[in-house]
Symmetry: C2
Subunit: 367 residues, 2 copies
């Protein structure tokens, strides 16, 4: 291998694939980043066998070749390289990086051992607008569970059918649901649970200038392709709960209130409600014109009150403050609709100007 390239190209490659490098896998070669010089490109690849990322950057290839370099030290070194012309040369699994009058050498892994990403060439493909999918991820991903013991809750259900797309996440205490119409895609049908880590990586790597996102899939894997990135992920096996059953179709109380004021009130009240267990329970009282929060602890007490517009019954209800704050933080709409049906039924939060999104949280029983 002999390649001429810029620091920026190397940095793009390393930064794009690095999160897919295995941190705990027992197979040493998975701690490496593969680089392959081919045609007029340098191809970067990393995988932990759950997720795999490939990134193609421009380079001037004088001699083709492939190497697998230890990820940590290679990434650290690339970040510290000068903005100069850089030459990569490979000989006997040792790669030499030259710049100015200096050079450094790293011993690589045997490239034969590196599991290349499959291409899913025959799979069905589906085109999605980038900004829509980024928004959908942001609106749902935070609701995923982190408990590995129940895998189906650690991902988001992606459903594509009949010119519509849905992304749904739940940790069994709450649920986030986003719907959108995608015209002219009625032949395409997909249903699968995508790991939250995969969606987080897509969110991180997607840029506004990436016009389209192409999705391919087979029964166990899904590929996202955008810009110079090819990201492959396993799908989570198992049955996602029937979310339609969970979402109530009516409510007894409907409140409209300002998003940021409500968020700040909950934040203040949760500071005072903090106990040793790091959860704080927020007690809400909704009457004709006001929503109020009353909280008292050893530290002091707080009475928050804000004006609302309300239809339906008065209600007292309590929520884990995190369940409210997580969603209030990601809603851009100035006002939310808060739907309740007594103290023991779930509360539903919707942005006033985004009818295709809803968030549901179970209340906490206080007595």
């Amino acid at each position: 291998m002999k390649v001429y390239c810029s620091k920026d190209s190397l940095l793009t490659g390393v930064n794009t694939v690095q999160k897919a490098v295995s941190s705990k896998n027992t197979l040493p070669v998975l701690q490496g980043i593969m680089i392959k010089a081919e045609g007029q490109s340098l191809i970067f690849e990393a995988t932990d066998l759950e997720i795999g990322i490939r990134c193609v950057v421009p380079a001037q290839v004088e001699e083709e070749g492939v190497a697998v370099l230890p990820s940590r030290i290679f990434s650290d070194l690339v970040r510290k390289l000068p903005d100069a012309a850089i030459i990569l040369e490979l000989e006997n699994d040792i790669i030499t990086i030259k710049y100015y009058e200096s050079d450094l050498s790293l011993r690589g892994y045997d490239p034969e051992e590196f599991p290349l990403l499959p291409d899913l060439l025959d799979a069905e493909t589906f085109d999605l607008p980038v900004s829509l999918f980024k928004t959908m991820i942001k609106q749902t991903i935070f609701t995923c569970s982190t408990e590995e013991s129940r895998p189906v809750f650690t991902g988001c259900l992606l459903q594509i059918e009949d010119n519509t797309i849905r992304l749904i996440a739940t940790d069994t205490h709450r649920l986030a649901y986003r719907f959108a119409e995608i015209p002219n895609t009625d032949q395409f049908k997909f249903q699968g649970i995508i790991p939250a880590k995969t969606l987080g990586e897509i969110y991180r790597l997607l840029r506004e200038e990436d016009e389209n996102l192409i999705i391919r899939f087979n029964p166990s894997q899904i590929v996202f392709q955008f810009g110079s990135v090819y990201l492959l992920s396993r799908l989570i096996e198992g049955q996602f709960p029937n979310y339609k059953q969970v979402i109530p179709q009516s409510c007894q109380t409907k409140v409209i209130l300002p998003t940021k004021l409500f968020q700040e009130s909950v934040e203040r009240a949760s500071l005072l409600a903090r106990d040793g267990s790091h959860t704080s329970i927020i007690k809400l009282t909704i009457d004709t014109e006001h929503l109020s929060i009353d909280q008292a602890s050893d530290l002091g007490k707080i009475t928050e009150q804000m004006e609302i517009r309300k239809e339906g019954n008065d209600v007292k209800i309590a929520f884990n403050s995190k369940f409210l704050l997580d969603v209030l933080k990601i809603i851009d709409s100035e006002e939310i609709i808060f739907e309740l049906s007594g103290p023991y039924s779930p509360g539903i939060i919707r942005p006033v100007d985004d009818p295709d999104y809803l968030y549901l949280a179970l209340p906490v029983r206080t007595s």
Copy 2:
């Protein structure tokens, strides 16, 4: 107490004094921030008995009074207050904070127990340009030791005499020295060791718009006054080493080289020289036209080479990479002068365009 003020005023007060709040002191009241309504001001004060900070912010005082509030929860709450008119009211050591239609109450400490900061009114005063003192702190503070067992090395020696000011720090392995002329101050004479924490706080709190910094002192304490801030600190007792003896007056090798290129080379080499102990030793070879770094480890090897201008002998010498990087990071000058006298004598680094600063580091013996 009854006070009308803005969130910004409260935030300025809390942010300014908070670092002086005791984190481990056994006296509970020292975990508090004192607020005192007086005249047309709200005065904030906090101290851990080593350092004390006072900050005065404008407020509309309807009734004077004083309270001491638990620092952590009070600061957290102030940060979360709305940008609204805020009213503070005190009754029976309970302070109530009102905003919009909401209010919150915190139980305070007994203000009688709070140790007020002494005023050092009779002390001598000395005026210093703000930007000069900020630069002097930045150039020396990183050299202070963090080992509490040898207190004199945990601070910087400040010397003011004969129209000059000096700030010096050393941890016994290295030394940073900054000198400046301050005309028309020949009556003023001071010598004392100021804790690094104190200088760090001054650096954090000094703003470019603070035109002057006033220093007052008595034999055991020093006060820094600027803008709305009054910062009092104990001085460290003990004998600072005779730094003049340590600084060589001549050298056998004098090298001029580019600061950033040298910094980046050392950074790359130190990545490869990393061993389990987190220190990396950088071996430098200086010949007629080049400085080179050769480093090898299990990870790989590196040969860095850069062009230099040199007078005097060739030399091979080794340094702890941290001792080089710490100073290279804070030098703004494009080139440095590197003075050496063989492999066992200290190296001296000076910015080319700042003759009043020098940094000395002891080499590492390698064999």
